[in-house]
Structure formats: C-alpha cells, structure tokens
C-alpha cells in the first residue's frame, strides 16, 4: 500500500499503526497481564476529497483507529502521515494546530455536547480556542454562517442542547467540527443514533459539505448500507486488522474475504422479491476475546473455509486485483486469494 503513484493526492497515509491498551491485574501490586490489541498493524491511505468507509463489528477497533489518528489515544507504534508530515513526532503545540485541520464528528448527539452551553457557544468554542476571531462581531457572524451552512436557523443559537432533536444536535456537532475550517473529518458513527427518516438528512448534508469544501472523510460505521452509499473506498476491519479494502462496488460485487462476504450477506435488502431469491451466507460463532487473540488468521474460528494453514499463518494484506485505469486496487488479507464465490 506504500507504493503510491502520486503522494500529492493523498491526504492521510497510515502505516503499520498499532494502538494497544495494557490490561492490569491487582490493585496494590499492579502487574500487566496482557494487552488489548485494539488496532493491530493497520495501513491505509485516503485520497484528498474522497471518503474512506471503515466497517466492522463492535470491538473491532474502528473507533480506536479514528481516535488514534487525532492522537486522542496515543498509538503504540506506526506512522500517521498527514499531508506528508508524520504527526506522531509533533510536539504539543503542533498537535494543537493540527487539530484545526483534522476534526471529529462524534457518535452520540446526546453525549457529545455540553448541556450547559448554548448551541451558539458549542459551535463557537473551537473558534475561541484557536483564536480565529478578532472581534465579537466577527465571532457572531461566523456562528451565523455556520448555522446556515448545516441547515439550522441562526436564531436558535441561544437555545440549549435539550431543546433540539437528535438530528438537529448532530447538525450542531457538524457545525462545531467545521468551525475551524478543517480539511479532514473523522465521522465516528454520525448517523447510528438517529431515526431512519433523519439519517438521510445528515448523510446528504455531509455529502453536500464534502463537495462544497473538498473535505476528506474517514467514515466509521457498522451500518454497511450507509457506508456503501457515502464512501468511495471501503475498508473492512476484524479484530484490529483490516482484512479487505477496495472500491465500494468492487468490494460489494466481488468480496474476497469470507468475513466481508458474510457481512454483506447479513444485511437484508429492503425488497421482499430480492430477499426471497437471496441465500444468506451466515457465519457461526462470535468475535473472540481480544486479549487472547486466536493464532494465525484471527477469523479462522468462524471461517467456513478454514484449513490447517489458517491456524498457523497470519495472512497479510496483499494486492489481489487492480484496475489501473481508475487507479483502483483491491487488497485482501486471506491465505486463499481464489474467489470464494
């Protein structure tokens, strides 16, 4: 994944990123008994003004990955290149400046806003922190523009968060993220807490903003239909690893990894006539314990195609198909790269 044709196009390049959390036992004589390998050797890159969708089940490390990129969880090792600069070597001040460029949209619209601040102050706080407004007038004006940008009425700026619905709060959170004019947004499950009829509003808003301001998104979600809709490229995570990464249509039409195939097959299609013909490919079992990772391929205890090899050898992400015309590549981490269809 490191041999990139044109590094200028790449907004974010993550190489061999690892984020481990130590696990302790005992209260007085604390000793480390293991590590949770939340993100375990993950590499990918995102091209400017495109969206990378990160999917996986809960506990697969997708949220930790998002937080690691913002250095909210300190990665254990690896490189995160943002516009060619390794942000893991930056000092405190430089990180602060960097957070002006990379912003995050959080999952829970009820937990991510301070209930004692007015909506206007919530949106304006980053402006004050980064000292982006010289006068009070300019500050007010910026907040008004931000409100309009996300489709909220500026006269609601004096209201408190509890007076807003879930969808409106999510708009406030997006406005707050956009206030410092970032060019990269990490969206961590931005629509999963919303009602179906509201989800589409927020998805459309994110798409419009991307087009208008050439934003780059890392879109983290467990909802495959939403990810497939909004992303250009999709990466599938399983137990801290990326197991497959490809352009969304390529991934949907020709999944190579058994887990990807199971994921897509698990999502019911809202059309009974299609569903009647579909034969769901259901995998048994559940995600294994993260402290005690299975040997070899982490997916082998659930994989229907498992062989002895899978139990002993760790598969690495390798190129299995590439479409040079559109610069699209399909990478998969499976020992068998034959088609499983």
């Amino acid at each position: 994944m490191n041999s990139l044709q044109n590094t200028k196009d790449v907004c974010l390049d993550v190489r061999h990123l690892k984020t481990f959390f130590p696990v302790y036992k005992g209260s007085f004589f604390k000793r480390k008994i293991g590590e949770i390998k939340a993100v375990n050797d993950v590499s990918f890159h995102i091209k400017r003004a495109t969206t990378l969708g990160m999917v996986g089940e809960s506990g697969c490390g997708k949220t930790t990955l998002g937080r690691s990129i913002l250095l909210l969880n300190r990665p254990s090792s690896g490189e995160i290149l943002y516009n060619g600069v390794n942000i893991m070597t930056l000092n405190h001040q430089e990180i602060r400046a960097l957070r002006k460029k990379i912003q995050m949209v959080f999952q829970d619209p009820f937990g991510a806003i301070n209930p004692r601040m007015t909506a206007g102050d919530v949106v304006g706080e980053p402006l004050l922190i980064h000292q982006m407004c010289q006068t009070k007038n300019e500050y007010q004006h910026t907040i008004e523009t931000l409100f309009l940008m996300v489709g909220l009425d500026p006269c609601m700026a004096d209201r408190y968060p509890h007076e807003f619905s879930g969808g409106q709060r999510q708009r406030i959170i997006i406005a707050r993220a956009l206030s410092v004019k970032p060019d990269f947004l990490i969206c961590d499950e931005p629509v999963s807490a919303l009602d179906v009829s509201i989800q589409a509003q927020i998805i459309n808003l994110l798409e419009e903003l991307q087009e208008k301001y050439h934003l780059t998104y890392l879109f983290i979600s467990h909802d495959l239909s939403v990810v497939k809709h909004i992303s250009d490229t999709i990466a599938v995570m399983y137990m801290g690893n990326i197991v497959e990464i490809a352009h969304k249509n390529e991934l949907y039409d020709h999944p190579r990894h058994p887990y990807t195939k199971a994921l897509f097959s698990s999502v019911p299609i809202p059309d009974p006539s299609i569903e009647a013909k579909r034969k769901p490919f259901i995998i048994e079992g559940e995600v294994a314990n993260l402290i005690d990772l299975p040997s070899g391929c982490h997916f082998h205890p659930r994989c229907p195609y498992v062989t002895e090899d899978c139990k002993n050898n760790v598969p690495v992400l390798k190129l299995c198909a590439s479409d040079t015309m559109n610069e699209r590549q399909h990478w998969v981490a499976c020992l068998f790269d034959n088609n499983i269809e």
């Binding site: 009829s197 239909s225 299609i269 809202p270 006539s273 259901i282």
Partner: protein, 319 residues
C-alpha cells in the same frame, strides 16, 4: 385468527398533557403469521406490544379503550391472576436490550427455567432437563457452562439467545419480538433472526416483529403495518408494500434509506422533524412533513380504508 386487536388506545397522562402513544389501532395476526410493525422511535410500536401484555406502567399510562381478543378471551377483561397465565406462557416477549432485561444476579439457567416452573408446574429436575434442551435448540455452545454463568459473563448475542430460549420455553402461540436485534452486530443479527424464523416455523408460533429496519421486514415478514404518531397509516402484505407503497410516509421512508444493492444516487430524506406527540397537528399527523398534502389534511385525520385486496391506507389522497 390468533389475536384480534380492535380500536386499541393507550394514553399517558403527563403533567404537560395527554400523550396518545397508541391511538385507536386495530390489527390481527393469524396462526403462523409474522406481522411486522414498522415505524420510527415514538411511533407507538413498543407501547402497542406492551399493551398486548398489559405491561403499561399505570400511572401514567392507561389502556383507554379497545379489545384484545386472544384465543377467544378478551385480555383486557381478564383479572390479573388469569393475565399472568397468559404472559410468558401463551404470549411471550423478547425485549430489545438483552443487557438490561435479564436479571443481573440470577444465573442464566435459573432465568430460563423460571417460566417452566411457574406455568407448567413440572418437577424441577424435569424442568432443568427441558431448560438445557432449549438452550441447545437456540444454539448456545456448552449449555452446561453457560447455564451456570451470570448475564454479565455472556456476550450480547448469547444473552439474546437465552432470551429467545426463555420466550420459547412454554411453547407460546404468539411471540412479540421488540427490536430483538437492534443492539447487536449484523452477523449476530442474521444468526438470531434466522434462528427465530426457523423455530417459529417449526413450532407454528406467530410473531409480532417490531422493528425500524425495512430490510429485516423484507426478509422475514409476511404482512407489514406502518405506524406513525400512534396510528397505523398503512397495512399491506410485505410484497405489496415494497412493490407499491401508497402512503406518502411509507414512500418517503423507502426513498430515504440507502440500499446496499443499488448504486448510490442522492437520498431523498423525509422533510422536517419527527412529530411531537404532545402537540400533534389537528388533522393528519404527517401533514407538516407530507409532500402531497391537501387542504383537508390539515382539518381532518384520514381513516384507514381498504384500497385493494389486502392493502389498507389512511390518506386523503385515495378517497
């Protein structure tokens, strides 16, 4: 006909006014049928389910009117003792959150065996045996070990499996599944729904499936009722509803969800915000968000009327 609900209304009396969570709805479920109730949060799906079992907290909630005829008895007229023989025995419920609906300090086997001991009045040893058979039936690996564990020791999927085992323990004729897989991952969701479908088919149990996921409805339901602001706005077979949705709300909902099998075009979101149930508009509740509104929608609420065979709709457009 297994259960026939007529003109059910459940209201909550709050300090700010009367909240009509369920407002005059009627439906019926046949033997072996899977009926899906679809709607957004606050549309009254869960309150409908709780009303069927008379589990509405009173106060503030109250079933104002209606009839629930189940196996030739009106559940609303039963005394509390008789009602208890229905719950968990003839009608079982699988709740949304397995994390909170299991008792945290009782082992799984104690909870699965409880309905058997209570309703079937069989000796404990025999009940225990049946309990382990049930746990095998819902594909819990190592039932002997799982049975002795406490809920917090199990994963979400395992907890929901034990909920299903509890629900099926007395061979109920109706299972109410209230968002049974919302809190779970997609691969686990697929496992559990297949299991539920197979078991209900095998035992001839009917199911009331409550969900907001139109995909799940398409995969499993025979018939669908769409709810909005406490009322049923459209009733149809699953085939018909997806092929020809008629109510503007149903149409808008279908257009607003991204589909995994189709290439992305722009989504058409439902305009506006979900209704405030304490402050509903005078006429049709969907009126403020509707793209096909007429003058009379503002004044009078439309009634559910048959449109064609097996397709009913509450909208002035089809009058």
């Amino acid at each position: 006909m297994l259960i026939d609900v007529k003109n059910l209304s459940t209201h909550f009396v709050l300090s700010r006014g009367v909240l009509k969570a369920v407002d005059n709805i009627s439906f019926s479920i046949d033997k072996g049928e899977i009926l899906a109730l679809v709607g957004e949060s606050g549309s009254g799906k869960s309150v409908t389910a709780l009303s069927l079992l008379r589990l509405i907290p009173n106060p503030p909630g109250k079933i104002i009117s209606g009839e629930i005829v189940f196996e030739d008895k009106d559940l609303l007229k039963l005394n509390p003792e008789d009602m208890r023989h229905i719950r968990g025995n003839r009608i079982a419920m699988i709740f949304q959150e397995p994390m909170t609906s299991l008792h945290p300090i009782l082992t799984i086997e104690k909870q699965v065996v409880e309905p058997l001991l209570h309703h079937k009045k069989i000796p404990r040893t025999k009940a225990m045996k049946a309990c382990y058979q049930l746990m095998e039936k819902v594909h819990m690996s190592e039932p002997a070990l799982r049975g002795k564990s406490y809920p917090h020791m199990l994963s979400g999927g395992m907890k929901q499996r034990s909920m299903i085992a509890m629900g099926l323990s007395c061979n109920p004729s109706l299972i109410i599944a209230d968002e049974p897989t919302t809190a779970l991952d997609v691969t686990i969701q697929a496992q559990l729904l297949e299991l539920l479908k197979d078991l209900t088919q095998e035992l001839g149990t009917s199911m009331l499936l409550i969900t907001h996921d139109l995909g799940i409805v398409a995969r499993y339901a025979h018939n669908v009722h769409v709810m909005y602001a406490g009322r049923i706005v459209e009733k149809a077979s699953a085939q018909n509803l997806y092929a020809r949705p008629r109510h503007p709300y149903t149409m808008a909902l279908m257009a607003s969800i991204p589909r995994i099998d189709q290439d992305s075009k722009k989504l058409a979101p439902v305009q506006g915000n979900p209704p405030d149930l304490l402050n509903l508009p005078k006429g049709c509740a969907f009126y403020p968000r509707c793209s096909k509104k007429q003058d009379q929608c503002m004044e009078h609420a439309p009634k559910l009327k048959p449109l064609s065979n097996n397709h009913e709709i509450a909208c002035w457009m089809y009058e």
